[in-house]
Symmetry: C2
Amino acid sequence: MSTPSGGSVGLVEQKEFTFAEDHSFTFECGKPLGPLTLAYETYGELNAARDNAVLVCHALTGDAHLAGYHSGEDKKPGWWDLMVGPGRPLDTNRYFIICSNVLGGCMGSSGPTQIDPATERPFGLNFPMVTIGDMVAAQKKLVEHLGIDTLLAVIGGSMGGMQTLEWTLKYPDAMRTAVVLASTWQHTALSIAFNEVGRQAIMSDPDWNQGDYYGTSVPGHGLAVARMIGHITYLSDASMRQKFGRRLQDRCEISYGFDTDFQIQSYLQYQGRKFVDRFDANSFLYMTKACDYFNVADKWGAGSLTEAFARARAMFMVVSFTSDWLYPTSQSKEMVQAMKKNSLDVSFCEIKADCGHDAFLLPNKRLSTLMRGVMEKATRKGRTS
Amino acid sequence: MSTPSGGSVGLVEQKEFTFAEDHSFTFECGKPLGPLTLAYETYGELNAARDNAVLVCHALTGDAHLAGYHSGEDKKPGWWDLMVGPGRPLDTNRYFIICSNVLGGCMGSSGPTQIDPATERPFGLNFPMVTIGDMVAAQKKLVEHLGIDTLLAVIGGSMGGMQTLEWTLKYPDAMRTAVVLASTWQHTALSIAFNEVGRQAIMSDPDWNQGDYYGTSVPGHGLAVARMIGHITYLSDASMRQKFGRRLQDRCEISYGFDTDFQIQSYLQYQGRKFVDRFDANSFLYMTKACDYFNVADKWGAGSLTEAFARARAMFMVVSFTSDWLYPTSQSKEMVQAMKKNSLDVSFCEIKADCGHDAFLLPNKRLSTLMRGVMEKATRKGRTS
């Protein structure tokens, strides 16, 4: 793995944007609620023409902390630091980058952990169901609040890619370019199946208590199992063979018992425990359900994917990864075909990578080059059109 | 789906074989235990030459009830009824077919549900760890008890295929033919990962109580989640799309809630519940661990798969299925190559099937034809050699 080229954005600060204070925000499910808050971060400066803004949408369990460090003591930078900074593909010397925690999340934005003024206790499952469309509608308010009419680009991987697609259909003229990485235009039965098992693991944990556990317990066992399932889908057979194979964990021989024998067991258990410390179980339920409900063809094309993209205006870049079996290349190709049928400007690349679905988050020279290229093209188009 | 050709074996009876009464059976982990019992069934008649016996080994959650009906009220026949009966590929007019529940199982054979004479309570986790090798050693005792020196064939799919491989290496001269379906020579990190998450789901269920739950509770939530994970691995992306797609369950619109929206959710939940009624959670732990420990190269070839098969004498047929991503074709090919390097008589076939790992259990004309062919060849060889 190569270190990212260019520099770090250094110290950054998380901000809050509160909206729907006077008039409630109406969720797609029909429920109204307000005020609502989005936690967000920005990097670089908005230029005078206000045409260099880039919105990055995060994946299932991501947050607004895209790049840089909150303090000098942080051990790790933001989640896509390798892509964002002076001289990096999303060059903060040139672009004004925005990232916000999604509605329904648990990293500073409104969601099930928010206090319900009516009960003075966290909403829990009383928070309205959140869709990808709701996430995007809230982001639009933030973007407007920052004084931006047209984004240079909307970019996202996985669930972030779903938000990106939704942006191009809900607000077709609000961006020049859309970059969709390791994502899909619909959750298939297989993706729903994995999410459902994760939810069942959480909801059958007695500490979940119908979602009303705040201040008393944490459904940690269920949430850990859900995360372990997720982690399997983020890796690939090949990457697991390389990373772990059948290597034993802290022992020379198998234990003939139910303790940890193999490194892969230890890895999954660790990922499960770590996740419980940082993520809210209800929020996980909301995020997975938002993904399961996502289907561009049904929402925007009365069942036809081609019809759905008839309303799009953005220039697209779609990227898939060979070893991603959660959202395989075939699903990216389906949307690329639908875009092409609508004569949209779309480029598609399948990147050879062994590391599975998570590939878009890891150092990858090809992806960096593609990102530089698409940003360059978007900027040129912005100047001449 | 076609109905199986040939007839049913009709009513059958389950029997018991008890061994290690005087001298304990020593498990591979080193622990001795006895007496032990295997539940088994037989179909057809052993001929005078005692050379027409076929042992069928079942998969992870299977049992000895291979074919036919226990009573006129049974709604479903045994698990491989389509393959076993007069005129069927495993023709009971010609062959004497044996199937036993594995050691460590919970369908009549000794395992964690067995009463420990020392405490007069079920063994639970005090039952010795069971390996594929232990299962096969116990089957060997049953086969000897039935008066058979050399089996015409040992046949098994999935975990049954692992037992079949183990038979050919542990008792190289005890069979003429070995048929290995949808199986593998080692559990890879990915297969271990799926099993580990299932075990964690069970062991984090408070009702599991460190395996000591008999008579008081059942860790049903954990076991159901474990089964749901399993079911995902038994199907394929294609079969799930065909069977369920994004079709809704008993509703016209999505619920915007955490109830069941999609048919795939309902299917998985149903499979989970059904499994809890028929299978023991501890036995599930033992079975998955036996699979995770399975590695032919390490056990028989000091790390070399080719060296491992140097001891084999059987004629092999190895069959994989295109959409099986639990034990993909590549793993079958690895063992076929190792067999060929040892000049073994091996035929290999990858069958095109959309239904995933479970394909070997479903009606498949190609598989039936292959099974008839291999049995014919084994019989001919038996007569002349």
